[in-house]
């Protein structure tokens, strides 16, 4: 923590990133409750990562030959990327639709989105058996162009670059490089359009990854519309995350929005609630259509069917109604409750496709090991540390 601060003050050429981090560091106490919980988990996670690279992925995970992707892909990558969707939705609203009301939160959201992607890409490296070949699909003659994963990998990379360009005027500002800032600002709109297009494709692409696992995913969650579902749900997943982040990390929020603009902030939150309600309605309707077309009524009265109903009614329909009611009544607390429920619903949905509903009929199910959980938590904590301090 302190060391990065010093590097930031040294101002050598490549210290821009460190400078950025140090700028965002809180100037508060060190022994906060968050630090007391997160530091041991991060250290333990580091030890586990060493074991993973020394003894192999099987040494710390419960993955099997039948379930080769577990929590690290299903939660860290697939769910995490959905939550990072706020960046593309907000840039669309602010830069394309010119909804100026949301201008004050767009930068911090893009930064959070960028950091999230950096960490998911990092988490992905942990899950790769041969990570030293990770650049193969980017360079060389090994283009697996018929692969959905190829598309997703390229889009991750390009999207990170687009987000960096979107955010770069702010970096130039901090560094006091006025000319650079002007050039970079000029590139913003192109980067935004590129970024939104990439997001459309990789948010849905994460769902399309599972299209070939047709016989392995429970029929209530498998349909050829998984990509569309993933895309639509990423809209309210991302915005719910923005609402949630705004309510917990006041420090970041308050630096962007001065206290006298409390009213404006409420307006933003309620506006986001309205958009969430709309997107969730579209999503719920889509799920309903797919369910009816799938002719899976007989599956509803099974344990997995009830689980499906819980997801759809408790974590899609209920937060949708709550978002709507909170917008109509101007109830900020209700928006936050709805956002948390909607986020739980997205976690549930992604895990149902990737882990819980994957190989659901097997006698011995995959359950993540405690070590997988610790590494996941360590990744999340590290990301929160960097982004919020």
């Amino acid at each position: 923590m302190n060391s990065s601060y010093q590097i930031g003050q040294e101002q050598d050429g490549k210290a821009i990133w460190k400078f950025l981090i140090s700028e965002l560091k809180p100037k508060g106490k060190f022994l906060t409750p968050f630090n007391i919980i997160s530091i041991p988990i991060m250290l333990l996670g580091l030890v586990l990562i060493v074991i993973r690279f020394w003894k192999g992925i099987g040494a710390i995970t419960n993955l099997t030959q039948e379930v080769p992707w577990g929590l690290w892909i299903g939660f860290d990558v697939v769910t995490g990327v959905a939550f990072a969707g706020g960046a593309y939705v907000l840039t669309f609203m602010v830069y394309i639709l010119n909804m100026h009301k949301y201008h004050s939160i767009v930068r911090v959201t893009v930064l959070n989105g960028f950091l999230a992607y950096v960490f998911y890409a990092g988490a992905l490296l942990l899950d790769l058996g041969r990570p030293w070949h990770v650049i193969n699909p980017i360079i060389g003659n090994s283009f697996g162009t018929s692969s959905v994963l190829f598309l997703v990998a390229w889009h991750f990379l390009l999207y990170m670059i687009a987000e960096l360009i979107e955010f770069s005027p702010a970096i130039a500002e901090w560094l006091g490089a006025r000319k650079a800032r002007k050039i970079l600002s000029g590139m913003t709109i192109a980067a935004v359009i590129f970024g939104i297009t990439l997001s459309t494709l990789h948010q849905s692409g994460l769902g399309a990854l599972y299209l070939m696992a047709k016989d392995k995913i429970h029929p209530l969650w498998y349909s050829e519309f998984i990509p569309v579902m993933f895309f639509v749900s990423s809209i309210f997943a991302g915005l719910s995350m923005v609402i949630f982040e705004g309510s917990i990390s006041h420090r970041v929020f308050f630096r962007q929005i001065s206290e006298k603009n409390q009213q404006a902030q409420h307006g933003i939150v309620l506006g986001l609630a309205r958009i969430c309600a709309g997107a969730m309605f579209a999503y719920f309707f889509l799920q309903l259509l797919v369910f009816i077309h799938g002719q899976n009524w007989h599956l509803l009265n099974t344990p997995m069917g009830l689980w499906f109903l819980l997801e759809m009614l408790g974590f899609v329909m209920l937060p949708m109604i709550l978002f709507y009611v909170s917008y109509r009544t101007g109830n900020i607390r209700l928006v936050k409750i709805a956002a948390i429920l909607a986020m739980l619903g997205v976690i549930l949905n992604r895990l149902n496709v990737t882990v819980i509903g994957f190989r659901w009929e097997m006698a011995i199910r995959y359950v993540p090991s405690w070590m997988e959980l610790v590494v996941t938590l360590a990744v999340i904590f590290t990301e929160i540390w960097i982004s919020d301090g």
Binding site: Q65, S142, W154
Partner: protein, 288 residues
């Protein structure tokens, strides 16, 4: 037919990439349409369950020698140290053996899934794995409807293991170790087209012995390994409800949409941007 569809796929991917990132990948598909895949016909009525093929396979691939019959369960799956297993099933027509290994699909899901072309459908038919390209993402395992690729979860330098139809032997004109050594002629190596004819001939000559179905003729769009059996294949642990079309076709729709999205969405966004950019209420253009 299968090849045509694969070529189509490659072209599709290449054009998508060109539009997507402005990079051109080489569309070097020089395969001509007359290429014929080789395969192996397994006749379970001839197999005596000696498991000699397991030993030959282990020998040919440098795997540990299989355990003796008394130490193993009747039903096993292949794993990272064993590319093939012979299972014993008690069926409606008595004891039937069945050999399992990678099916070497005509249009393999693992090859379509692989983002580095480490999984490769050779022109001869075997699906092979290249360790210099693979990044260990295991998407091939997620996609394979037969669960053929196996991963060395307990190695810091893990490989994907599966039957490669002894591709090294095939290149020198030999036949796969299992088919070459089978003492009961339960395994027949040859051109897939000829094997299908032979399978139909056997069914025609002994309709009371064989079930009137060649497993692998249509399953998953057709496989290199073909199976004959006296009993329905699901009694032998083979999934008889797999789709008849190829698995890569499941992602065609999505991949097909990529170029159009890359053209239409930016144009659409530009249009909205142009239409709304003068809506600025108090004329402030810059950030902050």
């Amino acid at each position: 037919m299968g090849l045509n569809r694969r070529n189509f796929f490659k072209l599709l991917g290449v054009s998508g990439m060109t539009l997507a990132v402005g990079k051109t990948a080489n569309a070097a598909s020089t395969e001509n349409a007359t290429v014929e895949f080789y395969g192996i016909l397994y006749d379970s009525t001839r197999c005596k369950g000696c498991r000699g093929c397991e030993y030959d396979c282990a020998d040919a691939h440098g795997f540990p020698e299989p355990l003796p019959a008394k130490d193993i369960p009747a039903i096993r799956t292949t794993n990272e140290t064993c590319n093939t297993v012979v299972n014993r099933y008690k069926t409606s027509k008595g004891e039937v053996f069945i050999k399992r290994q990678c099916m070497h699909c005509n249009e393999p899901a693992c090859v379509a899934a692989c983002l580095t072309q480490a999984m490769h459908k050779t022109k001869m038919g075997p699906v092979t794995w290249d360790g210099d390209k693979c990044m260990g993402c295991r998407y091939c395992m997620v996609s394979c409807p037969f669960d053929s690729p196996k991963f060395e979860f307990h190695s810091p330098n893990p490989k994907i293991q599966k039957c490669d139809m002894c591709f090294e032997r095939l290149k020198t004109g030999e036949s796969p170790a299992c088919a070459f050594n089978c003492p009961n002629e339960a395994l027949l190596y040859g051109k897939r087209r000829d094997l299908l004819k032979e399978a139909r001939r056997r069914i025609y000559e002994k309709p009371d012995v064989y079930l009137d179905q060649v497993y692998g003729e249509h399953a998953a769009g057709g496989t290199g390994w073909l199976y004959l059996s006296p009993v329905p294949f699901n009694e032998l642990g083979l999934n008889n409800s797999l789709q008849q079309s190829s698995y890569p076709a499941l992602t065609t729709g999505f991949l097909y949409s990529v170029p159009s999205i890359f053209v239409l969405v930016p144009a659409f966004l530009m249009g909205i941007y142009q239409a709304t950019k003068n809506n600025t209420p108090n004329g402030k253009e810059e950030d902050e």
